[in-house]
């Protein structure tokens, strides 16, 4: 574990894992798409419009998960100054922002036919929009500071302060009366969603998770190369010398 935290080792290790993770992700994506769009039956109330769920819910889950990883890695970077934690936090931000934007856009596309409106300023939607601004603020702050390591540490403070939004998003549908439905998968007891729809949802969630891991590895490797470019190992691995 300790050895993996050395930038060069992390770079080589991530290079080995990238391909298998990417293949598994591709397989999950194809399976999930076929299952969700073709095999799963239409909903008795929402008809086929509910199929938006298979991209909307995984995006929303990942928007929270990636933020938690970003803030967690940021905290590790602040306390122990581990370079790999710094690049993980930094590399996660644009991926999380993309998931958040997707959750909002696909939600809007689902809201129009089901609620009759693209957008309402209710607790769930507004707190998720705030999450997008937190991601964008994190990225802007990182860009604004010249020194990469200082930038990551400053942005980590923002990420940690913003982490208060995560429980707000999760519990918003229970704390306030909102148009958005309450959770159906993560509640205690049996999920309030039928197995024929839950299974493709979980496969798609796995695909989104794999997409995040693959992209995180690619972007973290780029960040490492940029930050360590004056280090001899960078030249060596780029020339294929192990």
């Amino acid at each position: 574990m300790q050895q993996l935290l050395a930038p060069k080792n992390f770079y080589l290790w991530s290079g080995r894992w990238l391909r298998p993770v990417a293949w598994a992700t591709g397989l999950c994506t194809l399976t999930g798409l076929y299952w969700g769009l073709v095999v799963a039956p239409p909903d008795y109330l929402q008809g086929d419009s509910y199929r938006i769920m298979f991209v909307h819910v995984p995006s929303a889950w990942m928007s929270l998960f990636v933020y938690a990883v970003m803030a967690g890695a940021g905290a590790v970077a602040l306390v122990w100054r581990i370079k790999v934690a710094e690049v993980v936090a930094s590399a996660s931000a644009p991926i999380g922002a993309a998931f958040t934007a997707l959750a909002l856009m696909t939600g809007s596309l689902w809201g129009k036919p089901m609620w009759g409106t693209w957008w309402v300023w209710d607790a769930r939607l507004t707190s998720e929009l705030l999450l997008l601004f937190l991601y964008l603020g994190y990225m802007a702050l990182e860009q604004a500071i010249e020194d990469r390591r200082t930038a990551t540490r400053a942005a980590a403070v923002l990420a940690l302060v913003g982490a208060v939004d995560l429980p707000i998003i999760h519990y918003s549908v229970e704390w306030w009366h909102t148009l958005h439905q309450a959770p159906t998968v993560t509640r205690f007891g049996a999920p309030a969603i039928h197995g024929s729809m839950l299974a493709p949802l979980l496969v798609m969630a796995l695909a989104f998770f794999g997409y995040y891991v693959s992209l995180l590895l690619v972007r973290a490797r780029c960040e490492l190369l940029e930050r360590e470019r004056t280090n001899p190992w960078v030249g060596e691995v780029c020339r294929g010398i192990p």
Binding site: L37, P42, G47, D48, S49, R51, I52, V55, H56, S59, P94, I95, A98, A101, L102, M105, T106, L109, W110, K112, P113, Y211, S214, L215, V218, R219, R221, C222, L225, E226, R229, V234, G235, E236, C238, R239
Partner: protein, 60 residues
């Protein structure tokens, strides 16, 4: 899609565009960086330490 085709396909379309776009730009970033750093490393590995020549000094 039971009359909801526009909304469903738009949702999947926008997801595909955003996710493939970010994937493509990330892979391109890695390719560009490794290319740059490989060239830089080759140059510094093959070039003799000429910098010292210009200073005169005690370089033979």
């Amino acid at each position: 899609m039971g009359g909801y085709g526009f909304y469903v396909w738009s949702a999947y379309g926008v997801a595909a565009v955003v996710m493939l776009g970010l994937l493509g730009s990330s892979l391109a970033w890695h390719r560009r960086l490794t290319g740059q750093l490989r060239n830089k490393s080759r140059r510094s590995a093959s070039a003799p330490p000429v910098a010292l020549d210009k200073t005169g000094g005690d370089w033979p």
